[in-house]
Amino acid sequence: MVALNRLGFAERQPLGDNAKAWALNAPAMVVIALLVAYPIGYSFYVSLQKNNLKRPRAKRFIGFDNYKALLTDHAFLSALKVSALFVLVVLGLTVVLALILALVLNERFRGRGLLLSLALLPWAMPGVVNGLMWRTIFDAKTGALNGLLSQLGVIDDYHAWLTSGTGAFLFTALAQVWNTLPFSVIILLAGLSTIPSELYDAATVDRAGALQRFGQVTLPWLLHPLLIVLILETMNAFRAFDTIYVLTGGGPGDATTTIALLDVQTVLTFTDFGLGSAYAWVITAITLLISVGYIGLLYRKGNFEV
């Protein structure tokens, strides 16, 4: 209802809480819609097109043909296999190493702060810089790895570590783990700090050994942080691009051509936006499926009363 003032004009009423909330959030929502939702939706639309910038006149709507073609696309299937293996190796190494590092950093000892800072340092490094650093370390002529192993007497001659398929794959995975490990450590460290010390005291009274305390107390309490680590690291490993691109370019052969690398190559080098967008949506779908799987497996198990 519009109230009238003394001069008889309608007086403006302040907005209600709901309207205010919408009004205040609207700019952010518009920005998000323009910068995030629209490109995502548009990329799906592009994935339904034959759309290669080299042949603009051949552009047309082809429905799900790009997706159907993936089933017989040798490059895609090979990259998918490499990516799956890459995720397994990176995830396995990350979880084990992050858990060990978090357990160590959770203890009180002199120099803990320094070690914590050092452990977090790789996280601050951009993927490209990480790739360049490891390329220098793995260099066949002047690399630090060759120098170290040679001085330790492990090898007689310098090796070209990235020239065999297996070597390139493992060293690339190692470089990726080094870059993303700190993030997992932080999450697990945060999880460890929430475990009540009484539980350890009780376990000690019950004569539980270190392994039993880890299995019966630490691990169940870490299931939720582990879930986050698994989801985020799977996404990271599946989308890994910059480190691999700089380190091996995807070679030798197809040994390190992951699906993300293939996607970037398809879009930016081959300028095939239709197929490249289809690749991107497949990556998204796979990561989503894996994440849902993780949640189904781990979420309930970690949900218990103290």
């Binding site: 205040l24 910038l53 042949r55 603009p56 091996t248 081959f270």
Partner: protein, 441 residues
């Protein structure tokens, strides 16, 4: 302060005005081309941008035509130009790679130069290989920026120490010489090749095939590497043998990009490599190279020891199809890639003298100033001869070329690392071509 509808309307109005203000502040390119002030919008990759600007300033002074120059990072040049033209805001004149030409013509970004003043004269004066690379479907689309041909680059210091007096003419001879260097304990791996996967073409593979008189494709762009032309297979067999049997090709090549190879040549760590003539200028620069004065170039060794050909690339200046300032843009193109009022290719000469960029004009080879400069890093006769026998890849006009090139890198890596046999490699390449043809049909 209470938030009223009036406030909301004011803020909304401001929000709607902001993009318009931002758009007004940005460079006006909505008309499809031109800078809006009558100047010529010119784009190129960011090689020596300051020198480019310096040369453009000279053009503006002499012609009174303003040029709005934008250097674009090399790694993203093709993508950015495509994005600009797709969005309707391309340049009036621009650099064009020979392997982008067909796509950009088909995309209707460029217009032919046939019939424009001086174009026939330029095409008559340049090497046929460069003219071929700038021609698509019978029409001429570019004036030459620079060109280069591949050669065998060798270190005379290392060869002399091994008792070798002349460069190899055949691949067999190259392997034998490299083995001699290896056995003399001078270098463990005398030959280095840039064989890490990358987005750039592997000119040395084409040079080896052309160098032995072969080709991967016939004139209709059908693959012949696994049928009528056995040169590619034989070249692959030689590569495999040299990498895995005699072990004269460095296995680390698979993790080396062109720059590390250049650095290794400059540090006397390789006796031979195959690459562009241009690199010899740096290799022989005492300020940059320990091998300065020792690096020479020769024809690419062949399977039979006879002289055949080599591969060339051409970078050119193109004219946008929808330019609003065609006359001025073409004047700029002529200044950059054609003849000046004294009938001299001023800019081509400028680039050679400044940075040693290869030239497409045949007559420049006998210019005393050019020859004097050339002698500092190469034998002018060999340099010129390479230009004369160089030819472009005959698949630059097909839309699937980039995909094929990328796949070829992987196959050659397989050959070098002994994972793929030469016959399987050429079969695989032919199969790739068939798949790509279907994809683009």
């Amino acid at each position: 302060m209470e938030l009223t509808r009036r406030h909301i309307l004011k803020l909304t109005g401001l929000g709607l005005t902001a993009p318009a203000l931002l758009a007004a502040c940005s460079n006006d390119s909505s008309s499809g081309s031109g800078s809006g002030d009558g100047s010529v919008k010119f784009e190129g990759w960011d090689y020596e941008a300051e020198l480019v600007q310096q040369n453009l300033d000279r053009f503006t002074t002499t012609s009174n035509i303003k040029v709005n120059y934008t250097p674009i990072t090399s790694a993203q040049y093709v993508q950015k130009v495509v994005a600009e033209f797709t969005g309707g805001g391309g340049a009036d004149a621009l650099y064009v790679y020979d392997d982008s030409l067909a796509a950009w013509v088909d995309g209707e970004y460029l217009q032919p130069l046939d019939g424009l003043p001086g174009v026939d004269e330029v095409y008559a004066a340049i090497y046929p290989g460069n003219a071929e690379a700038m021609t698509y479907q019978g029409k001429r689309y570019g004036l030459p920026y620079y060109t280069d041909a591949n050669c065998l680059t060798y270190n005379t210091g290392i060869l002399t120490k091994a008792g070798i007096t002349k460069p190899p003419a055949s691949l067999e001879e190259l392997e034998a010489q490299a083995l001699k260097i290896k056995n003399a304990g001078l270098l463990e791996y005398p030959i280095g090749l840039p064989a890490q996967l990358s987005d750039t073409w592997w000119s040395w593979v084409w040079a080896l095939v052309f160098g032995s008189g072969g080709n991967l494709f016939d004139d209709q762009q059908n693959p012949i590497m696994n049928t009528s032309d056995t040169v590619t297979k034989d070249v692959f067999a030689w590569l495999q043998q040299a990498a895995n049997k005699s072990k004269v090709i460095d296995p680390a090549s698979l993790q080396l990009l062109p720059v590390p190879i250049d650095n290794a040549m400059k540090a006397n760590r390789y006796a031979y490599t195959i690459g562009a003539r241009y690199a010899s200028r740096d290799y022989n620069d005492p300020a940059k190279s320990k091998a300065a004065g020792k690096i020479r170039m020769a024809l690419v060794p062949s399977l039979d020891g006879k002289e055949h050909a080599t591969v060339s690339n051409t970078r050119m200046y193109g004219l946008a199809k929808d330019t609003d300032v065609k006359d001025d843009a073409f004047k700029l193109l002529t200044y950059l890639g054609g003849y000046d009022e004294k009938k001299q290719p001023y800019t081509a000469k400028f680039w050679f003298l400044q940075r040693g960029l290869g030239f497409a004009y045949k007559a420049m080879g006998s210019d005393p100033e050019i020859t004097a400069s050339l002698k500092k890093f190469a034998d002018p006769v060999v340099y010129q001869h390479l230009a004369e026998i160089a030819k472009p890849r005959n698949v630059l006009g097909v839309p699937w070329y980039t995909e094929f090139e990328t796949e070829m890198h992987k196959v050659v890596q397989g050959v070098l690392s002994n994972q793929t046999q030469p016959s399987a490699a050429v079969d695989s390449l032919a199969q790739t071509v068939e798949t790509l043809k279907k994809k683009y049909s």
